[in-house]
């Protein structure tokens, strides 16, 4: 059985080592937070300037001065710290985050990622912190469905969409499989309701078994 979004998030969370400093990209990656146990010691970073972010704020806890990168109200945990955008991106760019989880339109076999622009001529381009996150964290995990709605694979030999970063993705977590990508090629680490051979047939990249 392929995984639901929530199951994918749980699968990603299970691979985040205890005590890691982690940035969860906006959109689906945000779900990963729900699957990090309180005892894990994982510390969440939000690039708008907070380390040790807590869960979404509700009711009276909503404070317009305290949001995540998606501009949603959040909370702070004990032991948090606030800093400016310059300091926050220095932290990201400097390689201090252990893991960052991003959504993507496409990931290439060598770990390129495209997640900021569909390339459509009338689209308003917007990049935010995506390029900084893609190249900054020690390990970059991508979380996406493996196939677009029309069935075309999103794990590709080479991205056709405009790139966010080059050779920076380590792992790709999808609804039907988990892949290790990068200079060493693509390895299938796990499958859900699909066989290695079926994957190999539907993808245009060479696969190695785990």
């Amino acid at each position: 059985m392929s995984l639901s979004k929530d199951e994918m998030a749980a699968r990603v969370a299970a691979d985040i080592p205890d005590g890691s400093f982690v940035n969860l990209g906006i959109g689906q990656p945000t779900l990963v937070a729900d699957h990090l146990t309180s005892g894990s010691g994982v510390v969440l970073h939000t690039e708008n300037g907070l380390l040790n972010m807590g869960p979404a704020a509700v009711g009276d806890a909503i404070d317009p001065d305290l949001t995540n990168a998606g501009k949603q109200p959040v909370t702070e945990r004990p032991g948090s710290s606030y800093f400016s955008s310059a300091d926050s991106f220095a932290m990201m760019r400097g390689g201090h985050l252990d893991v960052c989880v991003l959504g993507a339109f496409q990931v290439s076999a060598s770990g390129d990622i495209a997640n900021w622009h569909t390339g459509e001529p009338d689209a308003i381009p917007a990049v935010g912190g995506a390029m900084d996150l893609a190249i900054g964290a020690k390990r970059v995990f991508v979380m996406m469905t493996l196939f677009a709605k029309d069935g075309t694979p999103k794990l590709v030999p080479s991205c056709s969409y405009p790139l966010t970063g080059v050779g920076c993705v380590d792992r790709v977590y999808t609804d039907v499989a988990v892949f290790q990508v990068g200079a060493g090629g693509v390895q299938v680490l796990d499958t859900f309701g699909i066989t290695f051979d079926e994957l190999a047939e539907r993808l245009d990249v060479s696969l190695r078994p785990a």
């Binding site: 949001t67 501009k71 400016s84 310059a86 990049v127």
Partner: protein, 217 residues
């Protein structure tokens, strides 16, 4: 440093053609009163540097709607409520320089810190680095980026003392501190001006040297 009696007094003298740095990440830290005063004040042909390109129909979006901004330099103009910018952009009525958020912050940091240019890994190999100088250093490729200086910075802070020292509140801090260092004239809106000595010197985020005018709103 001058404590101003009104936002109008605080933004007086901003000239046509200025580059204006505007703090805020979405609405958090957005100096709305100063932007409203700038709309009243009338300066046009502006280059605005801000992380986003306005929300709804107020604040920065209202400034854009009045056709007063020639060029936006930002990282994320596309938001669910950024229809004013979207319309101007699609109509070819505004220029956009899209900058990855960290490069945006670091380019202003360079302006404030006297750095002439810097090699950053962010954006390498992407369309946002096209045509820019690159260099391999210790096996990694970097792109050369230049400072972004403001004539004016409009910053939303929490408290100021009478010398102009600033503290911020939670994630509303965001771009305020770096913009305050990067502009010739920095104007801060705060919720309250306290007596000199009332801010903890260990916790001041923007030292008074960076602040020219303060208004409590």
């Amino acid at each position: 440093m001058r404590i101003c009696a009104s936002a109008a007094e605080a933004v007086a003298g901003i000239e046509d053609g200025s580059t204006v740095l505007i703090g805020g990440f979405g609405m958090a830290g957005m100096p709305v009163a100063l932007i409203d005063a700038l709309i009243e004040q009338g300066a046009s042909d502006l280059t605005v540097v801000s992380n986003n390109a306005g929300n709804g129909d107020t604040g920065l979006a209202a400034l854009l709607a009045q056709g007063r901004v020639r060029k936006m330099i930002c990282s994320f103009p596309r938001q669910h409520d950024s229809w004013v910018f979207d319309g101007l952009y699609r109509a070819g009525k505004i220029e956009l320089e899209l900058v990855p958020q960290g490069n945006l912050a670091e380019r202003m940091r360079a302006a404030g810190a006297g750095i002439g240019a810097f090699f950053t890994p962010t954006g390498v190999g992407t369309p946002l680095a096209e045509g820019k100088e690159t260099r391999e250093i210790d096996g990694r490729t970097y792109v050369l980026e230049y400072p972004i200086r403001g004539d004016v910075a409009l910053v939303g802070a929490h408290r100021a003392d009478r010398m102009g020292n600033l503290v911020y509140r939670k994630t509303a801090r965001n771009f305020g501190p770096v913009m305050a260092t990067a502009a010739a004239t920095t104007i801060a809106q705060v919720s309250r001006v306290v007596e000199t000595g009332d801010l903890d010197p260990e916790a001041v985020v923007t030292p008074s040297i960076y602040v020219d005018r303060v208004v409590a709103v």
